[in-house]
């Protein structure tokens, strides 16, 4: 059995699954319930001067059969008095001494930071997370993402906290910034022990087209919120990778954003995360999802022969290069498995209209075919095909050649003028524009030819 326990910047946790600072960690009641269910740690709902919230507060993106693939909120930090939270932190730590309890904090002046850091440490918090991420409501008051977007201010505040803290300090970053490594480096320069990312992304989740108001609607008006849930995972993965690869960062990272099952967690860990945090998935399905996550992760580790999380943490990082270092001699083309094909012709229309006209319909058969010389190997068709592993991308180069853009640049072998004969698309087959008007289309496709 794999050992799931982690030591994250000095914080011990029975597994890498933590609850992110958010409604699921609003109270000791919820956190005890979560620990009892199997969660390894919890970042307490951000503490500070208690706020007052509005209703309603949430909006969601539903896609086809799925509800809440994206989630948006305009909630602020904790609205409960600090003393209640401190008392409950103490109770939780007493009952669950080996679980990780991290206090998320957001206040203004230096003295307030000093005071609240001491308070949560006295209550027994194992670590502190600085919320520099909230992109709505708090930033207008000069806190949250307003700090996260100003590396200098951020560094100063981390320094203030480090002046008094005795437990590890995690700095939580906002993704609402062009280059995530800038605040990450500032936090490290300020002395942070670890990073966590991402917080929510500024968003308007949708508009009520009858009332002409975006969601969520508060008495006929709305405001921008913070976006999270499965839809944001790719952004979070990329930012995690950026920080993990940055030589100026080199502190443990807690990965956050759209995680809802063990696979998501493994992906973050492979890109360098030491723990992962979850909010939306728990808000959607409750604490019970942890059973699948723990079982899945430990099954994966057993299958791969990883004894500890450290055995595979960051294992994908060496495989992420900058574009100009990819091998341009590598060549794959699409191949359709005729046995598996169900004849929907989605690949045809995708390639025909959205790619390179490399798939043709086959007279007398519903199974389309690939015109290999036109296929650029983009793999769009294999992504739209509804049948698992029906379209595969098959390698056509023999692997003997390796040439990157940077090598070509150095060799002076790249297109430089507008009509340069080195243009990549020069020899690709492109039908003449008017052929478009004589290509027959089926009934449901368009009006002009029916």
């Amino acid at each position: 059995m794999a050992d799931l326990s982690v030591n994250f910047a000095g914080i011990q946790s029975p597994n890498p699954f933590w609850l992110a600072s958010a409604p699921p960690t609003n109270s000791g009641y919820q956190i005890m319930k979560a620990f009892d269910a199997g969660w390894g740690g919890a970042v307490w709902k951000t503490l500070g001067i208690p706020v007052v919230n509005v209703s309603s507060r949430y909006g969601a993106v539903n896609y086809r059969n799925s509800r809440m693939v994206g989630f948006n909120n305009i909630e602020l930090i904790s609205d409960r008095p600090l003393s209640d939270n401190l008392r409950e932190i103490e109770e939780v730590k007493k009952r669950f001494p080996h679980h990780a309890v991290i206090a998320s904090l957001m206040v203004g002046p230096r003295e307030e930071w000093h005071q609240i850091v001491r308070d949560v440490e006295n209550a027994g918090a194992d670590g502190i997370e600085l919320n520099f991420g909230c992109p709505h409501g708090m930033c207008e008051r000069g806190m949250g993402s307003a700090v996260g977007q100003e590396p200098k201010v951020l560094k100063t505040i981390v320094e203030w906290v480090k002046e008094v803290s005795t437990v590890p300090v995690i700095t939580k970053l906002t993704p609402n910034i062009t280059d995530i490594t800038q605040p990450a480096r500032a936090a490290v320069a300020g002395g942070t022990d670890a990073l966590s990312l991402i917080n929510t992304i500024q968003s308007l989740v949708g508009v009520d087209i009858d009332r002409f108001v975006p969601y969520p609607i508060v008495d006929g008006k709305s405001t921008n919120g913070g976006y999270c849930g499965p839809a944001v995972k790719p952004i979070a993965l990329n930012m995690t990778k950026n920080c993990a690869q940055d030589p100026g960062v080199k502190v443990p990272i807690s990965g956050i954003g759209g995680i809802e099952n063990w696979r998501d967690a493994v992906e973050f860990i492979l890109l360098g995360a030491g723990t992962v945090q979850v909010c939306t998935a728990v808000m959607h399905f409750g604490f019970g999802i942890i059973r699948e996550m723990v079982a899945g992760l430990s099954g994966y580790m057993d299958d791969k022969g990883f004894a500890t999380i450290e055995d595979f943490r960051g294992k994908a990082l060496d495989h992420v290069l900058t574009w100009e270092n990819l091998n341009m001699k590598y060549k794959v083309v699409a191949e359709i498995n005729e046995e598996k094909c169900i004849g929907c012709q989605l690949c045809y229309t995708a390639c025909e209209d959205g790619a390179h006209q490399a798939i043709k319909l086959t007279p007398g058969s519903r199974v389309p075919h690939i015109v290999e010389e036109n296929c650029v190997g983009c793999n769009l068709c294999s992504l739209v095909c509804p049948v698992e592993s029906c379209i595969t991308m098959e390698r056509r180069d023999d692997g003997s050649e390796h040439l990157t853009w940077s090598e070509r640049t150095m060799a002076g072998n790249v297109p430089l003028t507008f009509d340069d004969p080195l243009a990549g698309g020069l020899h690709h087959s492109v039908p003449s524009p008017t052929e478009a008007l004589s290509t027959p289309v089926p009934r449901h496709y368009g009006l002009s030819q029916n």
């Binding site: 012709q345 089926p442 449901h444 496709y445």
Partner: protein
């Protein structure tokens, strides 16, 4: 023990004839429509006789544009709601859905179709704007799926349309023939009312066209005439005993059942003769009416039945017993009433059906229903000069244009195709309308 008890009230009847394809609610429609792949050259469209743009209307349902979806459906098939419920979708659109090839449940196209059209019928939403009158008039004989689909399409092209209907309700066999567990009377009539309002054709009910004089008047007053008269009564078997009381044709029994519901008294023992879809319907309807024993008797083997396998499954599910390779040779009776059927066993000899000598046996029955095909309306059709019928009594027509040997007369539906489904009649009615328009507006 019978599976069903005799219904004594309308609610009993509804329970026994529970809808096979109940209406979807919004949630189900949302999830089901999400599954559609939006196939290119979609096979479901090709399989639909009216070529409804299925991927488009399903996409419209999913985008919550129900009126748009209904319009897409009605543009191709005026019986959009009814067809969603009564079409044998297993062998049409849903049978062609690509999901079948993946051993995944096909999209429930029929139910989605009824969902969209049903919502719009209910809201009485006007979907089409009719063009100004073009000054020409077309008469339609028969207010069945063929006739009314023709009427809708002609109205969309500016023609004035008068429909002559022998009975007092529209929709033909949709209301008088289709099994009650497929569609209720109310549902059928709601769609018909909607079409009448939407397209503004007139129907003259209780107005059978049956004489040469009447036809001559129509020929005088109208530029073209469409014949959508369907088929006739159930044909006799030409065996002894067919004059007995409680011996009846399936189509006649079903019409009575559809009109009178639980007031129809089906006795304890019923024999149904036949192996087609109508026989299946009659048998399962008798079982649902509480008959203790229903025997479906067919001359040949199960594999040779004309009925769809899912219709036969339905019959078995209703507790009907089957008797194969048994030909009725006489209807037996006492005091002028049916008491049973005398059968003789059959066998195949050189691919010909023969009666096995001395193999007679009797099945006792209180009712005997023959579902052995509908007669053709040839004597009426013979009144039309130039219009011919073939050996099977079908109108000889140009299947592409609907035009008959008498160019003023067009035809479609059961009368021309020999008896298919509602959706075929609808397709043929519409197509004929398009060609009537072409013929009248741009004669070549």
């Amino acid at each position: 023990m019978a599976l069903y008890q005799s219904p004594t009230s309308e609610s009993d009847f509804e329970r026994n004839f529970q809808q096979l394809k109940p209406l979807m609610n919004q949630t189900e429609a949302h999830y089901e429509s999400a599954r559609c792949l939006f196939c290119y050259d979609a096979p479901c469209v090709t399989a639909c006789p009216t070529s409804i743009d299925i991927p488009l209307f399903i996409r419209q349902i999913h985008a919550d544009h129900v009126a748009g979806a209904a319009k897409t459906i009605y543009e191709s098939n005026p019986f959009g709601y009814a067809c969603g419920k009564v079409c044998p979708t297993e062998v049409l659109c849903e049978g062609a859905c690509v999901y079948n090839l993946q051993q995944v449940k096909p999209i429930e196209i029929g139910r989605l179709q009824s969902y969209a059209t049903g919502a719009i019928i209910h809201q009485e939403q006007q979907l089409f704007i009719l063009p100004p009158a073009n000054g020409m008039k077309v008469a339609i004989i028969g207010a069945g799926p063929a006739g009314l689909s023709c009427a809708c399409e002609l109205r969309m092209r500016g023609f004035e349309v008068v429909v002559f209907e022998a009975k007092d309700k529209p929709s033909g066999l949709t209301i008088y023939g289709v099994a009650p567990y497929k569609i209720t009377n109310e549902e059928v009539l709601d769609e018909m009312t909607y079409l009448e309002k939407q397209f503004g054709f007139q129907i003259r009910y209780n107005h059978r066209i049956e004489t040469r004089e009447q036809l001559a008047e129509l020929e005088q007053a109208y530029e073209a005439i469409f014949i959508g008269i369907g088929l006739g009564e159930t044909a006799p078997l030409q065996i002894p005993g067919e004059d007995l009381e409680n011996y009846m044709g399936a189509v006649e029994f079903i019409e009575k059942l559809r009109m009178e519901h639980h007031a129809v008294m089906v006795p304890a023992r019923v024999v149904v003769l036949g192996g087609g879809n109508t026989a299946m319907d009659a048998a399962s309807e008798c079982a649902r009416m509480g008959a203790e024993s229903v025997v479906l008797a067919y001359r040949r083997s199960p594999n040779e039945m004309g009925a769809y396998h899912f219709e036969y499954d339905l019959v078995k599910g209703a507790g009907v017993q089957s008797l194969f390779n048994a030909a009725p040779v006489a209807i037996l009776g006492n005091n002028g009433r049916v008491t049973g059927v005398k059968f003789q066993k059959t066998a195949l000899e050189n691919e010909k059906l023969i009666l096995i000598p001395d193999s007679d046996f009797v099945v006792e029955a209180d009712w005997v229903i023959r579902a052995t095909g509908q007669a053709r309306r040839t004597s009426f059709l013979n009144l039309i000069p130039g219009l011919e019928t073939d050996a099977k009594g079908r109108i000889v027509w140009n299947a592409t244009t609907g035009q008959t040997g008498n160019p003023t007369y067009f035809a479609g539906g059961d009368a021309a195709n020999g008896g298919k489904e509602v959706v075929n009649a609808a397709a043929e009615g519409r197509k004929a309308a398009q060609h009537i328009a072409q013929w009248l507006l741009s004669p070549s």
